[in-house]
Amino acid sequence: MSVVKVNSGNFAEEVLGSDRTVLVDFNADWCGPCRMLAPMLEKVAAAHPEAKFAAVNIDDEPELAVRYGISSIPCLIAFRGGSEIRRSVGLIPPDAIAALIKG
């Protein structure tokens, strides 16, 4: 299972309406730590089919960035049943990424 790109058009359906826990990675191309995080996120996604993994480019989707109060990236937000359950800012290792979608 890989990381799917989402936008304001399908965010409600793909993230808020999902029956699985969804981890959303808010990122940008110019953000070095985001680019270092991306391959680690892919690996965690491959190991956790029980959850869903999504990515939002904040330059393409400024409205989503404002809606979720993103003021520093990379920012990972875990959603369950349409609401935020956990949030983490900055580069973190795979174990810490996986911990965001736990139980």
Partner: protein, 301 residues
């Protein structure tokens, strides 16, 4: 047990891994967060020899790939110290232990905070330590920068092109920054200086809405801002090694250009060591020197 155990996968640690692998030693690099270290946040590096303009990400990725291709192994974890035992060193993390015949500490530095209540929880919710990383998220808003050195002044200049108003707050009356940059401050209409002033509180509900200022006469006031960029210097990331080897009063690991610490077999490389110039090229140089010394140490066992 690996021949060389490196703590920290920044420029110093990754370069040490390259040199130790080239000398055919087994190497494990232990990293707390992600490969590359501090330089990841820098859009373009202009002073590293033979790579003008390379991005911090590309630099870090090239360095990591080079070490990995040469056969260095990697593990994630935050070192909480080390113990000398059984002819080597054991480094514990929260959920594992790693062993090396020799040890290279390359944990670098991290940003100094203001030590205010709520500061940590608000980091990423209005409090930032990196203007080039987060500035774009404050387009058209009012922000403050606190600090008086090069980073604070260049952060204020950078943010003035994005934010509505930039308040530059400094506890002294003058800046110890590049005079050319200080002169530029006066030419930016949307940069306002608050000198002799300290940030003494953070006002927030879910995210930062204002900072509390204490002025020269000790009077306090609230300044509404969406973002506070903290640029008050760096501190060595050596807390885990306190009491285990000699640190200077600021916490830097005492080691000369030979990277030898007060403990035989333990070497210090990069920004976390006592030195004058903290740059990529000196971090890389330390990596080479420390690895060469570690290899010699291991061969002598």
């Amino acid at each position: 047990m690996h021949d060389v155990l490196v703590i920290g996968a920044g420029t110093a640690g990754l370069t040490a891994a390259i040199y130790a692998r080239r000398a055919s030693k087994s190497v494990l690099v232990l990293e707390a967060r992600g490969f590359g270290g501090q330089i990841l946040n820098t859009p373009a590096i202009w002073n590293y020899p033979a790579e003008p303009g390379i991005s911090g990400f590309d630099f870090a990725m090239k360095l990591y790939s080079q070490a990995e291709t040469l056969g260095a192994e990697f593990a994630f974890g935050t070192a909480s110290g080390f113990r000398a035992e059984d002819g080597g060193f054991t480094v514990p993390t929260a959920d594992a232990e790693y062993r090396g015949r020799s040890l290279i500490i390359a944990t670098g530095t991290s940003h100094r905070g203001l030590g205010l209540p709520g500061e940590e929880a608000l980091t990423g919710r209005g409090v930032s330590f990196c203007a080039t990383c987060d500035g774009a998220l404050y387009k058209g808003r009012d922000v403050a920068v606190v600090g008086g050195g090069n980073t604070a002044v260049s952060d204020a200049l950078y943010l003035s092109d994005l934010a509505a108003t930039v308040w530059l707050i400094h506890r002294r009356d003058s800046f110890r920054a590049d005079p050319a940059d200080v002169a530029l401050l006066g030419r930016k209409e949307n940069i306002r200086l608050l000198l002799g002033t300290r940030v003494t509180g953070l006002v927030a509900e879910d995210k930062l809405s204002a900072v509390v200022l204490t002025g020269p006469e000790g009077r306090t006031s609230e300044l509404p801002v969406a973002g506070l960029f903290i640029a008050v210097g760096m501190v060595p990331a050596t807390g885990a090694f306190e009491g285990l080897l000699e640190l200077d009063p600021s916490g830097y690991i005492v080691a000369g250009e030979d990277c030898r610490t007060s403990v035989p077999g333990v070497f210090a490389a990069g920004d976390g060591r006592t030195k004058d110039v903290r740059q990529l090229v000196t971090a890389a140089a330390d990596g080479a020197v420390a690895a060469t010394a570690a290899v010699r140490y291991v061969n002598s066992l």
